[in-house]
Symmetry: C2
Subunit: 253 residues, 2 copies
Amino acid sequence: MNCNVPTDIVFSFTGFAMRGGHTDTHHDGWGIAFFEGAGVRHFVDHQAAIASPVAELIKHYPIKSTNVIAHIRKATQGRVALENCHPFVRELWGRYWVFAHNGDLKDFAPVLDGSYRPVGCTDSERAFCYLLQQLQARFGAVPPSRGELHAALGGIVAGIAAHGTFNMLLSSGTELFAHCSTNLFYVVRQHPFVTAKLSDEDVSVDFSQVTTPDDRVAVIVTQPLTTNEIWTAFLPGELKLFVDGWPEPAPIA
Amino acid sequence: MNCNVPTDIVFSFTGFAMRGGHTDTHHDGWGIAFFEGAGVRHFVDHQAAIASPVAELIKHYPIKSTNVIAHIRKATQGRVALENCHPFVRELWGRYWVFAHNGDLKDFAPVLDGSYRPVGCTDSERAFCYLLQQLQARFGAVPPSRGELHAALGGIVAGIAAHGTFNMLLSSGTELFAHCSTNLFYVVRQHPFVTAKLSDEDVSVDFSQVTTPDDRVAVIVTQPLTTNEIWTAFLPGELKLFVDGWPEPAPIA
């Protein structure tokens, strides 16, 4: 989720969490990270989301954030363990970066120089460490502009995606990058707001009752969360940048 | 807390959390990190611990861990914000490191080379980044032995502590280092276990009912948590290493 005003994710998370063992088979852990200013609240659990006391907390505690990344895991590489749960968090340029991956990478063994090393044993965390290492090597101590970052990530992400399926989300608190290999959709919720109905549970919310006309919220998912909103599919290979709840145009190469 | 078997901290946390705005004035946020294997559960909140829904979760959800670091904050440097809440987490040598600081550092502005940079604006996070940078510079890509690490940390920590008050805790999941400038105490709970009574709330627990004779738990605090256990005071300038619930002898210099 990427938005222009701090928004709670209780509604979307309620449907999403059902896929962690109930309406889908992603029961090998889950996690969610909320940016609040420069800080991050990071919750991970190796239990299925539907059985997790921490997931219950999130469903009832409206944490407001402009950038949230959540993940439910079906283990493909790496055992079921806390250190293998997404999202992963690292620091670069004095900002936290949050990353989650859906998919599977084959024969992906990049040289890691030690600046970022995986703690667990997933292809995903390896890809995240490699990605940050490449950004640091490319730009050194000086953080790039948003356009430079978007362009550089395009190259790095394409290189990783050549190893398999790499649907991924990456945020450093203001912008949210989303890359599609196979499955990624987004919706922008804005005025005039409608009543949305979850696909995974019999819950609806009338967003017009909980928003102002200036609010804008982009939700990016591997599978649409609601049955009565129009979700836009990403193209395979597309890397989109969301800022203030809106997709930015692609950078000029 | 450092122990030889995964132990829940519900009892000690219940007393500790009362100091976050109730029996003490540390109401500018709080945090706690639990190691589970190589993974970390990290909870931070800029709200006072006594008013925090997340603290309520921790008080009732028995997360079992062999290494836990918790902190309640009284802001001395850095505003009340999520990014300034301890403990802080970073990765070095493919392990997470968790750090919390009690005290205040003056004129502490070390040169940071960019490998670790503070996200917030506390003297504490700056000290943590500097400490990890020095370890990485000293040992490079190869993690040192525990004895080498203890000896190296002794020098780094003494240099930081020369700038003011530096009571601190540091763990990478197996060992826990504790440095005292002014206030630090520890107790080792082991067989035969007694009934302990919290200082901050009218709660007791008979540890013999919830332990086995082989369990050993060290609890290290800035102020003793119970009224009927014998807490050992650290000496000023002392850096102790705890492993499996027990203080190790100091390294030979």
